[in-house]
């Protein structure tokens, strides 16, 4: 695999993965972990769990969130998180392929939005962009 597990990312990132599909959560977790020990991850199975986690005082530098989920979807959760004043970088990961579908998600308060599948290249882009910004 590209790079070693301890040296790819210099800054520490606390990352939350929000997706209702267990296989996708598992894969996204492994993708993020492949950037090394500076990346700490936690998973949530829907938007409500993510909101509750942030409400309990847990801070995440980056939240990767799916759009279509039961109980609370990505659009509702992103909007709620922003209303709560959550300043995390929120990255939408969606199967939507038209602007009309993506627009409400972005407008809810995303910093970035990518079409599935999430790849190492997309994650690297996010780490680099928000490492510089942060």
């Amino acid at each position: 695999m590209e790079g070693s597990k301890s040296s790819i990312i210099e800054k520490k990132f606390n990352v939350l993965i929000v997706d209702d599909a267990p296989g996708i959560r598992m894969m996204h977790n492994a993708l993020l972990k492949s950037f090394g020990s500076n990346v700490e991850t936690q998973v949530a199975e829907n938007g409500k769990v993510a909101v509750d986690l942030c409400n309990s005082g847990k801070y995440f530098d980056i939240i990767f969130i799916d759009k279509h989920m039961p109980i609370m979807d990505g659009v509702q959760a992103t909007r709620k998180l922003r209303e709560m004043g959550v300043a995390s970088v929120i990255v939408g990961i969606t199967s939507c392929d038209t602007d009309d579908e993506v627009k409400p998600f972005v407008e809810a308060g995303l910093n970035e939005c990518f079409e599935k599948p999430l790849t190492r290249e997309k994650i690297k882009f996010v780490f680099e962009k928000f490492h510089k910004d942060g």
Binding site: M1, G23, I24, L31
Partner: protein, 155 residues
């Protein structure tokens, strides 16, 4: 059978899955995430994909079997299937979902039913072929060999 021969057979079989378009580069990314600390990673992710997809296919069958089809519901299931299939690199399932969604948008029940048959066909094909792939891998490992790495640009 000699280990080298078994490895060669496995390598050829893996390449055929990519050449036939059943899998794309995303599957290789999945394979690259597997290491000694998590030797069953790909198998576990793919099994979860199969479980999830089977449920979605059942839901789709039931939704398209109604007298009045709720196309938003159908589209939502297809959308989920597209996301999970693209995440594991099941390219032909994903491509069929893209066409399927256009029929949902047009509210074309006949087109949706045709696409459902096609997506089921693609799903069962990739499932069967991946099961064979794992059987071949297990045979190589049981014979004391290692799994040969396959590069996407090698075919």
């Amino acid at each position: 059978m000699e280990v080298a021969l078994m490895q060669r057979r496995l390598e050829d079989y893996t390449k055929s899955l990519f050449m036939e378009g059943l899998l794309d580069a995303q599957f290789l990314q999945l394979q690259q995430l597997q290491d000694d600390s998590n030797p069953e990673f790909v198998r576990e992710v793919v099994s979860l994909f199969f479980e999830d997809s089977q449920k979605l296919l059942n839901d789709l069958t039931s939704a398209l079997d109604q007298q009045i089809v709720d196309f938003r519901k159908v589209d939502s299931y297809v959308h989920q299937l597209k996301g999970s299939s693209s995440s594991i690199g099941a390219q032909r399932v994903k491509n069929t979902c893209i066409v399927f969604r256009t029929f949902c948008e047009e509210q074309n029940a006949e087109g949706c039913v045709r696409c459902l048959q096609q997506v089921k066909q693609e799903y069962y094909l990739v499932k069967t072929r991946l099961e064979t792939l794992y059987r071949l891998e297990q045979q190589v490992v049981a014979a004391g060999g290692s799994i040969p790495a396959v590069e996407f640009n090698s075919f």
